[in-house]
Symmetry: D2
C-alpha cells in the first residue's frame, strides 16, 4: 500500500528549497483556516441573534486543528473522498465536538464553497503579511546597496554582451523598483481583495431568510476580511488577483536571482552570495563535498526554482475562472492546489530573497577589472560623438568603428589605436581629451539621478512600507 501524499512520512526533502520561511499552506494550515472560517460564522450568527449566547465561543473553542484526534481526521479524509471536498466531513466532526446548544450554529447557512473560499482568503492574508515582511527586508538591503554603490562602476550588459558603463548602485536601484512594485501589489490585494465568501447553496443565502446579508457582514467583521457586494462563487477575479500578486513577487525576485547567478560566474565574479545566518551561527551554503572549488549560489538558484513554477500555476488559475452557473464542476476544484502552491512558492522565494540581498557580497575591484579589460570599447560611442563635431557623424562612426575593430583584433586598448589615427588629432582631440572621453566615470548620464528617484519612491513608503498620501502612484504619473 503506497503512500498517497506527503502526509504519510515525516521526511521533508524539498521544503528547504520550496517552503522556506513562514508562509503556511500545508494540510494543517488549511485545516485550521477551515476551522477559523466555521468559528467566525458561529460568532457572526450569535451576533446576529441566530445562535444562542456562547455558541460562537463554544465553536471557536472546539475549532482547533491541533486538538482533532486521528479518528476525526480520518473521518474528514473519508468524507472528502465521497463528496469531493473536506468541508462536509469537517462540519460534521465539528458539530459533534461542540455542546448540543451550539451545534446548530455550525455551518449554518453555509455551503462547502463558502468555507473553502474563505479559508483560502485567510491563508492568503497570512501569506501576504509574511511575504510583505520578507520583501521589505530585502528591499531595505537593496536600498542600502543602491546608496552605497552609487559610484561603483561596472560594465552594463545587453543581450548578454558588454554595452556601456553603469554603476552597481543603478543595478540595485532597478532591483529595488521591482521589489517595491511587488510590495505595492501585495498591499493592493490585502486592502481590497481578500473577502469573505458567504452565499449558501446557490448564492442566495436562502436558508437564512432575510438575515443573510447581516450575517455575511458580521462574518467579514469577525474574520477581518472584506465584505463583497455579493457572493463570488463563480466570479473569480479575487482568486486571480491574489495569484497575480504572488506572481509579481516571484517576477521581481526572479530577475534579481538571474542577475546574481550571472554576476557570480567565476569569469565575471562581480558579486557572490554571502554566508547564511542560522541559529547555530553563520554557515556557508552551497559547498560541495567533492569539489572544494564550488560555492554554489544556492539562494538565487532556489529563488529561480520557485519562480519558474509560477507562470504555469497562474495560468491554471486564470483558466479556472471560467466557472459554470452557481458552482463550477471542476474549475473550482482545480484552484485549490495551485492557489496554495503560489502562496508557498512566493513565500519561499521572498524568504530566500531577504537572505540573499541581506548578505550579498559585492566585489567592486572585479567590476573595475572587467570594465578595464574592455579596454575602452564601451566608450566608443562617446568618442564618436566628440569626433562628429568636426567630421560629421557618418565619417566619425566609420572611423571609430574601424579603430574599435583593430583594437579588438589586436588586443590593444582603443586609446592606443585612436592616438595613431591622424584624423583624431586633426579633429582637435588631444590625448588628454581622448583619455577623458574613455573614462567610464564620465559617461554615466543620469545613473545617479535614477538611483535617487528609486530611493525616493522607496522611502515614500513609510516605515511599514505603505504609501504616503503623496506616494508612489503620484510619482509615477510624473506629478
Amino acid at each position: 500500500m503506497p503512500d498517497h501524499d506527503a502526509a504519510s512520512t515525516s521526511a521533508r526533502l524539498f521544503g528547504g528549497v520550496f517552503s522556506r520561511g513562514d508562509v503556511a499552506t500545508g494540510d494543517a494550515a488549511w485545516l485550521q483556516a477551515l476551522l477559523d472560517a466555521e468559528a467566525g460564522l458561529a460568532r457572526a450568527l450569535e451576533r446576529a441573534g441566530l445562535a444562542p449566547p456562547g455558541a460562537g465561543a463554544a465553536v471557536t473553542g472546539a475549532a482547533v486543528a491541533a486538538d482533532l484526534p486521528a479518528d476525526d481526521l480520518a473521518e474528514i479524509a473519508r468524507a472528502s473522498d465521497l463528496t469531493g471536498n473536506p468541508v462536509p466531513g469537517l462540519a460534521r466532526v465539528l458539530s459533534r465536538r461542540v455542546p448540543d446548544f451550539a451545534a446548530p450554529a455550525v455551518h449554518r447557512g453555509a455551503t462547502s464553497q463558502d468555507i473553502m473560499d474563505t479559508a483560502a482568503m485567510l491563508l492568503a492574508r497570512q501569506a501576504t503579511r509574511v511575504i510583505r515582511r520578507d520583501l521589505l527586508a530585502a528591499a531595505a538591503a537593496t536600498a542600502r546597496l543602491a546608496q552605497s554603490h552609487r559610484g561603483t562602476l561596472m560594465i552594463g550588459r545587453t543581450l548578454l554582451q558588454q554595452a556601456v558603463p553603469v554603476t552597481f548602485g543603478l543595478v540595485a536601484a532597478g532591483w529595488l523598483a521591482g521589489l517595491d512594485g511587488a510590495v505595492a501589489g501585495l498591499d493592493a490585494v490585502a486592502e481590497d481583495r481578500l473577502a469573505v465568501q458567504f452565499g449558501g447553496a446557490a448564492g442566495t443565502l436562502a436558508s437564512l431568510g432575510a438575515d443573510g446579508p447581516v450575517v455575511a457582514a458580521l462574518l467579514a467583521s469577525e474574520l477581518g476580511l472584506a465584505a463583497p457586494p455579493l457572493p463570488w462563487h463563480t466570479e473569480r477575479l479575487r482568486v486571480i488577483d491574489v495569484a497575480v500578486a504572488m506572481a509579481r513577487v516571484t517576477a521581481a525576485l526572479g530577475k534579481i536571482a538571474r542577475d546574481v547567478t550571472l554576476l557570480a560566474q567565476a569569469e565575471v565574479g562581480e558579486v557572490s552570495e554571502g554566508v547564511a545566518g542560522t541559529p547555530a551561527g553563520p554557515v556557508r551554503r552551497g559547498g560541495s563535498s567533492a569539489m572544494p572549488n564550488k560555492a554554489n549560489p544556492v539562494a538565487s538558484v532556489a529563488i529561480l526554482g520557485c519562480s519558474r513554477q509560477v507562470p504555469g500555476l497562474l495560468a491554471t488559475l486564470v483558466a479556472s475562472a471560467e466557472q459554470e452557473h452557481q458552482r463550477a464542476a471542476g474549475a473550482w476544484h482545480a484552484e485549490w492546489q495551485p492557489f496554495s502552491d503560489l502562496l508557498r512558492l512566493a513565500g519561499s522565494a521572498a524568504a530566500w530573497g531577504a537572505d540573499l540581498l541581506g548578505g550579498l557580497d559585492v566585489h567592486p575591484a572585479r567590476m573595475a577589472a572587467n570594465l578595464s579589460a574592455a579596454a575602452g570599447l564601451p566608450l566608443a560611442e562617446r568618442v564618436t560623438s566628440l569626433l562628429a563635431h568636426s567630421l560629421g557623424r557618418p565619417a566619425a562612426h566609420d572611423l571609430v568603428a574601424g579603430a574599435a575593430g583593430r583594437a579588438a583584433g589586436a588586443g590593444l586598448p582603443l586609446r592606443d589605436v585612436l592616438l595613431t589615427i591622424p584624423q583624431v588629432e586633426q579633429a582637435g582631440l588631444s590625448a588628454q581629451q581622448v583619455d577623458a572621453a574613455l573614462d567610464p566615470a564620465g559617461y554615466l548620464g543620469a545613473a545617479s539621478d535614477f538611483i535617487d528617484a528609486a530611493l525616493a519612491a522607496h522611502h515614500q513608503r513609510g516605515a511599514d512600507g505603505r504609501l504616503d498620501a503623496s506616494g508612489h502612484a503620484r510619482a509615477e504619473r510624473g506629478e
Copy 2:
C-alpha cells in the same frame, strides 16, 4: 516560396472571431506606434533645447506609417532579420525621410528597446480605451438584465446539477460584478502603469549627458504616458500588469459565455443569442446551411475561443519577466507577440461581449418550466427546516430525504409524497403550508439584496465608468 506570415495575403480568415472590434495590434498598428514614439522623442528633444526648432514637427510629419513606400518597408524588414528587431531599420528610414536639420533628432539618446516598449504602451493605451468602451456597453446591458429580471425565477445549478432556486436577475448581477471588476482593472492600469520607456543603451541615458531625465519627462508629456522613476528595461511588472488586465477581461467574459452556452442548450433553453446588428441590418448568426435546426451561440463560442488562449499567453509574459542585466537575451523578444495577442483577444472578446449581452434573449417561461419540472425537489431543504422544529433536524432530514427519493423514483411531485406521510400532518404542517414551503418564490433569501448591491456598486462608477470618490473599493471593505 511559401509566405511566412499573414501579411502576404489579403485573406482574413479568422479575424472575425479573434480580431473583432477596434483594438489594433497588427503590423500596421505597431509600425505607427513605433513612429509615434520616435516622433514624440523628437518633440521632447526640441522642447529640451536638444534639437533645433521645427525638428519635432518635421519628424512628426514624416512619421506616418501609411506614407512609407514599399522600399522603406522592405528595408525595415531586412534590417529586422539582421538585428532582431525592427527599430534600427525604422530609425534609419525615418532619418532619411526628414530634412537634414531634423535628422539628428531622430532616435537621439534612445535604444531600440526604448522605442519598442513605448510603442507597446501606446498600443496598450488604445486597447484599454476600446475595451473599456465595449465592456461598459456590456455592463450597461447586463445591469438592465439584472434589474428587469429581478423576479425571474430559475433553478440554481451547482456542479452542473440542480440545486435551489435563484433569479436570473441574480445571475446577471454576478456577471455584472465580473464586468465591473474587469473595467476597474483596466482603469488601474491606464492610470498608473502605462509608462514611457527611455533609458538609452544601458539605462543611464549617458549619451544625453545630464539632460536625460528632462527629456524622459518631456517624452512622457508628449505621449501622455506616465514617467517612471527610472527606466524599466528589465523590470517588467508593467508588462505583467497590462497582461493581467487583459486576462481579467477575458476571465469575466469567459464565465458569462460559458453560462450562455449552457443555458442555451436545447434541453435547457433558458436564454438564446439574439440577432446581430450589422451595417446591412439584423442578421441571425450561427445558422447552418445543412441543418435548419441549428442556431449556434456564435458570440459565446467566439468569446471562449478567445478567452481560452489567454492563460498560456499570460504565462509566457510572466515567465519572461526574468530578464538579464540591462537588456534580456530572448525574454524581451518573447514578449512582443503574446503582448499583442492579449490585447487583440481581450479586445475581440469584449466586442463579442457587448454584442452578446446587448442582444441576449431571456426565456422566463422555460426557466419556470424547468423549475417546475423539478417538482419541488429544490425546496426539500426548506421543508426539512420546517419539520425540524417538531421532529428535530436529523429525523426531519431523514424523513424528507426518503420522500425526495420516492418522489424522484416514481416521478411524482415532492408535494404529493409529503402529503401522504403521517408525520408531516402530525408536525402540524397543513397542505397549504407545504405548498407555501415548496413555492420557490418564497425561498430566494437575499437574492434581491445582492442584485441591489451589485447595481449600486456598478452605478457608483459614473457615466464614464470611473469610480466616484465614495466608490467601489470602499464598498468592498464594508465601510
Copy 3:
C-alpha cells in the same frame, strides 16, 4: 511557528480528490526512490569490481526509507536547506548506516542530479504501471459500453446545440479511442524513455576513470531502466516525454468527464454516475447533507479538478528544458514538483476514471425522449436531400428551412408541418416516406462501422494492452 508543508500534519484533506489510487509521489516515495538509486549504484559498482563483494547488498539493506530514524530525516532536511537538494544529506546518512567496508560504494562517481533524475524515473515507472492498469480497466468498461450501446440512439450535439442523431455506442467508441491513445503513450515512454542518469560532476564520470560507461550500463541493468547513450543532465526531452504521457492521460479522461457532467445534467439526464464500490460495500457518492435532490457527479468533477491543473504544470516542464551548461541553475530544480504533481494527478484521474466508467449508468429512455422531443428537426437535413431530387437543392433547402422554422416556432413536429406542404406531396413523398426519413435510426451513416473500427483497434492490444505486431500504428496508416 507555522508548518511549512503537508508533512507536519496527518490531515489528508484533498488526497481523495487529487491523490486517489496507487501512484506514489509523496516525500516517502521520493525518499525510497532516492535510496533505490543509491542502492542500485552500489550493486553496479560491485559488479564492475569497483566495490568489495557484499557492498551492494549491504547498501541495499540499509536503503530502506521506513528504517531511517527521525534524526537522520532531520539531518537530510537540514542539509537540503543548505545545498538546495536532498541528496548530499541522504548520501552522508546512508554512508553512515552501512558497514565501513561498504561506505565507499555509497554515491561513488555520482552527483546529486544523477540520483535525483534516476529516482524521478523510478517514480515515473511506478506511475506508468499503475496508471496503465487503471486506464485498461476504464478502457475495457468503455469498450463494453460501445458494444452494448451500439444501437442506443441519442441526439448528437455540436457547439452545445442539437445536431443530428448518433448512438451512445459511438460516443463510447470515441472515448475508447482516447483511452487507447493514452495507453499507447504510456507504453512508448515506458519502453524507450525511462532511463538512468549517471554522469558525475559534469557528465564525464571522470572520477571513475575509464570505468564510467560500464558502471552506467550495470546501473541501468540493476534498476531495469534504459541506458542512454550519454548523460542527459541538461538534455531534458525525457522529462518532457514523461510529462506529455501524463497530459495525454488527463486529456483523454477530461474529455470523457466533461461529457458525463453535461449528459448528467437534470435537463438532459442521459447518464449518471453509478455507486462507488468501497471496501465496506457500495456507497453513493455526491450526496448533499442539505439538498436530498443532489447527486453530484463527483468522479467526473474530480477528474476535471485533476486534468485542469495539467496544462500549466506541463508548460513549466517544457520551459524548464532550457538548462544551462552541464547543470542548470534553477530550471532543474523547478522540475521536481511539477513532475511529481503530474504523475500524481494523472494517477488520480485514472483511478477516478476506472471507477467512473466501470459504474456509469446509461439511460436509453431519456436519450430516446430527448431525441423525440426534437420533433424531427435533427432530420431536416435528410428530408432536404430527398426533396432535392425533384426540386433541386436550393429550393429544397429553402422549403425545409421554412418548415423547420414554423415547426420550432409553433411547437409542432416537423412531420406535421411537412405534410401540409403541397410541394412535398408533389415531389412524390408519401407520408410513409416522410416518416421513414424522419426516423433517426435510419440516419446513422457509419456509426456502427466506426464502433467496429474503434473496438478492433482496442482489441489489437492484447490482454496486457500492448500492441500486436500487426497493431495500431499500421491500422492508423490505413494499411
Copy 4:
C-alpha cells in the same frame, strides 16, 4: 478605422525573428490548405462514384488560393464573422467557381471541422518536413563540432559555477542528442499522427449513407494523410502530439541557444556566432549602429525569443483537449491560432538553429585560458582521491579543501600551495605526480566514449535522418 490584423499592411516587422525559414502558416497558407482539403474530398467522391467523372479535377483546378478575387476573399471573411469559421463561406465561394456538374462534389458529406482539421494536418505536414530538413542541417553541423572538438578542453559549469573539466566535443554531443531526439519526435508524428478528419455533422457521415468509410479512406489516400479508425472531432490527442513535437524542437534548440549566449559573454568568450550567409554574401548580424563593440548573438536570441513562447501555447492546446460532445463550443476554436503559432515558431527556431550551428565559431584558446585561470581548482577532487590512499578520505578532503581555500584566497595556483604542504610529500606525491593530477586532459573520464555514443546514435539515422532497423530505440534500451 484601425486595422485589425496583420493582413492589412505589407509591413513585416517581426517576421525575421519569429517567421524565419520556410514554414507557412499565414492566412494564405491556411486558405490553400483548406482548398486542398476540399479538392481532395471532391477527388475522393469521384473515385467512390459519388461525383461525376471530372468533378475532382474541376474542383481541384478551382481550388487555388492565389486565383481567388478580392470579392470572394471578402465574402469568406464576412461569412466567418457570422458562422465563427471560414469554411462555410469558402465552400460557397468554391461551389460557385466550379462548373455546375461539379458543384455538388464541393464539401459533400463534410462539416466545417472536417475541412479545418484536415487543413491543419496538411500545414503540420509541410512544417514537419521543413523543420526536419533544418534540424538535420543543424545536427550535421553539430556532429562535426562534436567530432572535431573531441579533444578541446574547457571547464564544465554547473549551477553557473565552474566544476570539473569537459571537452567542447562533449558539449556538442549533448546538443546533438537533443537535436536527434527532436527529429525522432517529428518522424513519429509524421508517420502515425497526421490523419484526415472526416465525420460529417456529428461524426457519423450520415449524409453519405453507407459510403462514408470508403470516402474517408479515399480522402486519406488523396491527401497522403493517415486514415484514422474513426473521426476525432473531439478526441484531440493528435493535436497534442503535433504540438509536442514542435515543443521538443524548441526545447532542444533553446538549450543550445542558452549555452551559446552564455559562452559568448565577453568575459567567457569561448564561442561566437559566425557570419550569416545571405544571397548577397556573408553579413555580420548583430551589429549596433551606436556601439561598435557590440556583436549580439542574434541567432541565439531569436531562438530563445521563439522557444520561450512555446510552453504557454502548448498549454493552451492541452487544455483545449477537453472538448464537449461531438464538437466543442470554444475549445476547438481556441486551438487554431496556437497550433499555427507553434508550427511557425518551431520552424523559425529551426531555421535560426541551422544557421547558428552551421556558422558557430569556437575559440579553443579562450577555453584553455579560462581553464588555466582556474589554477588547478577544478582538479581538487582528483588530488583528494590520490591523497586518500595514504591519509584516508576525510583527512585528504580536509587537507585539499584547506589548500584550495588558501589558493583561491591568495590568488595562487593550487599546485604551489599543495607543494608547500608536508603531508603531500609524506604521502609520497612528487611534484610531477601533483602536476599530472592537475592536468585537466587526464581527468576527462568517459567524455570521448560519450561523444562516440552520441555520434553512433546520430549516424544510425541514415542520410535521410530515419532510423535504421537497428536504430536508436534499441541503443537506448541498452541492447
